[in-house]
């Protein structure tokens, strides 16, 4: 009982990200699954949504997201939050760097609190 309560006290930092790929279906799903698992291990609770790269500007406009992760290029128009390349999560090479970049976003978000 006591243990459990203690576990719940452990603070999960929250972050929300938009995962985009060409059609909002294929590679973005693979990236979303990999991110979710990886971030949980870092005690970060990620709220991830999927979308099309074409809509990235429109979707992020409302300010609901902390970062965009894209498998379809990082030169996105009208996006003013950090854009991270998701390709390493597909190839398996350089995965750690992706998680570091997200950690930076999270740290910045929680820096003022």
């Amino acid at each position: 009982m006591f243990n459990r309560a203690k576990k719940e006290e452990k603070v999960f930092k929250e972050v929300s990200g938009l995962v985009v790929c060409a059609d909002g279906v294929a590679t973005s799903t693979i990236v979303r699954v990999a991110l979710k698992e990886g971030l949980e291990d870092m005690d970060i609770e990620a709220d991830l949504e999927q979308g099309r790269v074409l809509d990235a500007g429109r979707t992020t406009k409302g300010g609901n997201f902390d970062f965009v992760i894209s498998t379809a290029g990082t030169d996105l128009e009208d996006v003013d939050i950090p854009i991270i390349s998701g390709v390493p999560l597909l190839t398996g090479i350089g995965k750690d760097k992706v998680f570091e970049q997200i950690k930076d976003v999270v740290d910045k978000k929680y820096a003022g609190r």
Binding site: A22, D23, V25, A26, I30, V33, A34, A72, T91, G92
Partner: protein, 465 residues
């Protein structure tokens, strides 16, 4: 035997079981494997028994009325690529494609016939789909398997040939694209590029960002799908336009079409979520054992679609597709659910080969969509036969039937696979290509648009003069 079991249980049960077994064999954690199998079932079920029958019934009735009342002969409707993927993985060939695909790739790597290790397991569905179409057309499992292998070999070689160009253009070092849709226009783009250079079209530069700003809401495939459906409804029920109920029907048709275009990727995403566990594990095993020499990793062509030039080319072509459907002579196929997919994927290798030139890429892409419309028209009867034989139940919609979005590579290989001569021709072409490529790699790289830095600076100097 296998096809009997497949038919009795249906794809939504059998594919998860096959994937589950495969995952357990290669050492995915059982809990993860079970979860992934259930997601595959959920995704397939969402597509094949909920969304596709809904959309086929809705649009099918309108299209059927259009054919009878107006004589516009467009009976075949595209309901999206996920049905093709579902069909591909729901057959005997689908059950075999992952192990066979991996083995062929490894053999080709060892023989130095390719420098690409394809980690894009999900997109093996393209090969399985082509193989399955051949299998159901001829009844020969052997033909089906052979053409599946031929497609894979062709794509690995063409992926190698275009790799330097695409890596440089998209800034994705170490990655190749043995992807059936992304490469569909690569071969066609080579002679076109030569012509465009001769007539000076390659020199005309248009800024892709300024074009894209002008699209407004027409840049959205849901909106364009709505418009096409409304046009079909107006033509179909043109004698009853005075009635309020007709307009209710027309607008519901438009909204229903938009809903399908919006929702079917979500169901497909569930299917892919299930696939992620398998592809992750395969990737870990393969890339750890990766060959000592320098190789590229094969990836989904989707990685290239975010490029501004690809997006602009895709959007321009998507809009052009609407008149093309109605006015292309001999076309019987309505490209609808994949409006926001096909023009973009076809643009992938083509744009890189054209060096980002929008006008040249656009012309190439429009030709690609026209070929897709003809392929869809030609193969629709075979496709709907295949869908029925596998046991996917779709509503009866009279003269309208479901059609497949047959991109050029899909059409060519489905056609070749149906006779021994065709299969022999396919392999002969593949080996001639391979032999010539290994002998003169630089010539092939150049043909596919690769410019090494030395000649590029020379080029710029010439321009300056």
């Amino acid at each position: 035997m296998i096809s009997e079991i497949m038919k009795t249980f249906g794809a939504a049960v059998m594919l998860p079981v096959i994937i589950l077994l495969l995952e357990l064999v290669i050492g995915v954690k059982p809990s993860k494997a079970i979860r992934s199998a259930i997601y595959i079932g959920v995704g397939l079920n969402g597509l094949v028994t909920i969304l596709n029958p809904f959309f086929t019934g809705l649009i099918g009735n309108a299209v059927s009325d259009m054919v009878t009342t107006s004589g516009i002969n467009l009976p075949y409707v595209d309901t999206g690529w996920s049905l093709l993927a579902a069909i591909g993985y729901s057959t005997t060939i689908g059950a075999l494609v992952i192990p066979i695909g991996i083995i062929i790739n490894i053999i080709m790597l060892l023989l130095h016939w390719t420098d690409t290790l394809n980690l894009d397991i999900w997109n093996f569905w393209h090969w399985a789909f082509i193989g399955s179409m051949v299998y159901y057309a001829t009844g020969s499992l052997l033909y089906g398997v052979l053409i599946t292998i031929a497609v894979e070999m062709f794509l690995l070689i063409i992926g190698d040939m275009t790799a330097p160009t695409m890596q440089k253009f998209f800034n994705l070092p170490g990655i190749a694209f043995p992807h059936a849709s992304a490469q569909s226009l690569a071969i066609i783009a080579v002679p076109l590029r030569w012509i465009f250079e001769k007539i000076g079209l390659m020199r005309i530069k248009v800024d892709s960002k300024t074009i894209r700003k002008k699209f407004g809401i027409l840049g959205d495939s849901v909106v364009v799908g709505f418009i096409i459906a409304v046009v079909i409804g107006i033509i179909a029920w043109k004698d009853k336009l005075g009635l309020m109920s007709t307009w209710s029907g027309i607008l519901s048709l438009g909204i229903g079409t938009g809903a399908f275009i919006y929702l079917y990727p979500k169901a497909t995403a569930a299917l892919l979520e299930g696939f992620a566990a398998l592809s992750d594990r395969v990737r870990d095993i393969l890339s750890k054992k990766a060959v000592k020499r320098k190789i590229s990793f094969g990836m989904d062509g989707a990685l290239t679609i975010g490029n501004p030039d690809v997006l602009t080319t895709g959007l321009l072509t998507m809009i052009t597709t609407v008149p093309l459907i109605f006015f292309l002579p001999g076309n019987k196929f309505i490209l609808l659910a994949d409006l926001g997919v096909t023009p973009f994927f076809l643009a992938s290798a083509a744009v890189a080969i054209m060096g980002g030139n929008i006008i040249c890429s656009y012309i190439t892409d429009v030709i690609g969509v026209a070929l897709t419309l003809y392929g869809g028209s030609y193969f629709a009867p075979l496709f709907s036969h295949t869908v029925k034989t596998i046991g996917v139940a779709l509503p009866n919609t009279g003269s309208a039937t479901v059609g497949a979005d047959m991109r050029p590579i899909h059409s060519i290989f489905t056609f070749l696979g149906q006779s021994p001569i065709g299969i022999a021709v396919a392999f002969a072409c593949i080996f001639i290509m391979l032999y010539s490529f290994k002998k003169h790699p630089k010539t092939w790289y150049k043909a596919f648009g690769y410019i090494d830095n030395d000649s590029q600076t020379k080029h710029i100097k010439e321009d300056a003069v």
